[in-house]
Symmetry: C2
Subunit: 335 residues, 2 copies
């Protein structure tokens, strides 16, 4: 199924709840420290896609719609949902801030990163601050399933990032190792968001596993497309400089595919070349000719197909429809 | 009262428990990620003073000795104590790792810092990893008083560090602002460690406040002496390069005192001078002549006096005696 829906269309079932997230984020990050306040305002002056809060709320909707006693539990659970949704966005922001230090990234959501604007030192601390505040909310509004889930996820993200760092400039990086890295660093938090929402409403273990699988497959596709956009995106839409991964020696799926093909020698030569301004264009051309970008996109499509299958464990609902649309959207997104 | 006791002497009442901490730290930081394992081994190849676990265990001992039903609660509470003590050391290690990035420090416990050996990028992630694992333990073994206490403390430390960063190279930094910074960045975790131990054994609120005050005053003195040692210590004993604060533009109590004295102009000139190799020696001489180092030490003595007064809220015990000895030790320490 092809879709030309916008994210806003897709978010319809949780639109009202999502509107309340920015204010909750501000509330959670309140501090008398002027400098931190300024940085909070700066960072959230450009909103992201709010993908994690949306997934959390959709997971919650899906689980709620299966409960007959939902009305009784409503008020408390909805408060928990909202706070947890805002916490996942802050948690995610914390990882972005530390990631941008690690990758020496200069642009995020179309504006200079914190490490560029305030220096990496302040950025380390602000990342810590965001992370701790998010964890505080999770401990306050989460339950005995949600709290260990987040702790595990935080560990997985970290693990994936250390692994990625170790594999920088490794022209022998295998696809399976790369997929494991993106599962940990990206897919795990997307799955965790969905699961968290569902855990607020006590979804049964079998369906919870299906939802987690959806999140993992969806997340793998999401990251693969993101990595393709790092080559083929429009900088203005994408909000980052193109070729950032390459510049940092991070080889993503298209490059790994190229390195495993008959074009390996040419690719190695280009990758080891000094950082000439022409290098990016030449590599992009090679990726296109080789079919490596198309290969990566095909892989993403496969993951999305697997993700969609998992949703068959749920009856039809506006929430399930929204997750299906989101899955298709990922394959067509430009930002 | 003067003392020539060693830390090992002072730790006597909790010696057996402390011996079990290194193995627990290793257990808590277990991971299949080889690189992280290597860094864990490297970092803990040089043990610190274990001051925070010791304080936690002493706080626990103090509270336990006041309970008649201690024997009944013993087994579970002692497991909690040990895990929380190891968690505070890991938590502290995480802040040291991020601090060393922020301060571009080159030496820690006499060996190169992680940012020197593995680069600041890996160090950011390893600090995150340590922090998350510590928090995991705290959530697992803490109670409804301990968990929010740690979340608050994490926020305070971060706040203090951002404040310190903002005041770099500020020759108008006031003593009161500086004292607030060190209360947050150093004293708060020392107080939190003591309180945590006491909270395992449900110490009453009045005594808990006294213990917290002891921890804060003790911590202020501890940091002031640390800052003096950055000028007058022996590098081999201190385990860091001297003059590190100065090089980073962090003005500590002796320098702030100097800047508020008749020697202000000379001091400003030296501070603004290019980083000549002679600058440190000249400033040290000026600090000595001016009496600024002695002023800072006197301030530390005052804080220790206030700390000791708080202990009068507790009956005599080996734990109270140990805290008193620790207070005196701080004033005489060389590392």
């Amino acid at each position: 199924m092809k879709t030309t829906l916008t994210l806003e269309d897709i978010y319809t079932p949780v639109r009202e709840a999502l509107r309340r997230i920015p204010a909750l984020i501000q509330e959670t990050l309140q501090t008398p420290n002027k400098q931190i306040r300024e940085i909070v305002d700066y960072f959230f002056s450009k909103n992201g896609k709010f993908l994690r809060p949306a997934l959390l709320l959709l997971g919650a909707g899906l689980a709620r719609s299966l409960r007959e006693d939902a009305a009784v539990l409503s008020e408390k659970n909805e408060t928990n949902e909202l706070h947890l949704a805002s916490a996942t966005e802050i948690f995610h922001a914390a990882t972005l801030i530390h990631d941008d230090i690690i990758d020496s990234a200069r642009l995020r959501r179309g504006i200079p990163t914190l490490n560029v604007k305030w220096g990496p030192q302040t950025a380390v601390l602000v990342g810590d601050f965001f992370h701790d505040r998010a964890m505080g909310e999770i401990f306050h509004y989460g339950n005995e399933k949600i709290i260990p889930l987040f702790l595990r996820t935080a560990g997985e993200i970290c693990d994936g990032e250390v692994h990625e760092l170790n594999e920088k400039n490794n022209v022998d990086l295998q696809e399976s190792a790369h997929l494991e890295i993106i599962r940990k660093k990206t897919a795990s938090l997307l799955a965790c968001s969905l699961e968290t929402g569902a855990c607020v409403w006590g979804l049964d273990d079998k369906r919870l596993a299906a939802l987690r699988n959806f999140g993992i497959f969806f997340g793998m596709a999401f990251q693969i497309i993101d990595d393709c956009l790092d080559f083929t995106g429009e900088e203005r839409e994408f909000g980052k400089f193109l070729g950032g991964d390459l510049e940092e020696g991070v080889y993503t799926l298209p490059v790994i595919r190229l390195l495993g093909s008959a074009d390996r020698l040419k690719a190695v030569e280009l990758l080891r070349d000094s950082k000439g301004s022409k290098r990016f264009g030449m590599l992009l051309e090679l990726l296109r000719k080789n079919g490596a970008l198309e290969y990566a996109r095909e892989k993403a499509r496969m993951f999305i197909e697997k993700a969609r299958l998992e949703l068959q464990n749920f009856p039809d609902s506006i929430y399930r429809a929204s997750l299906e649309q989101l899955a298709d959207y990922v394959l067509e997104r430009h930002r």
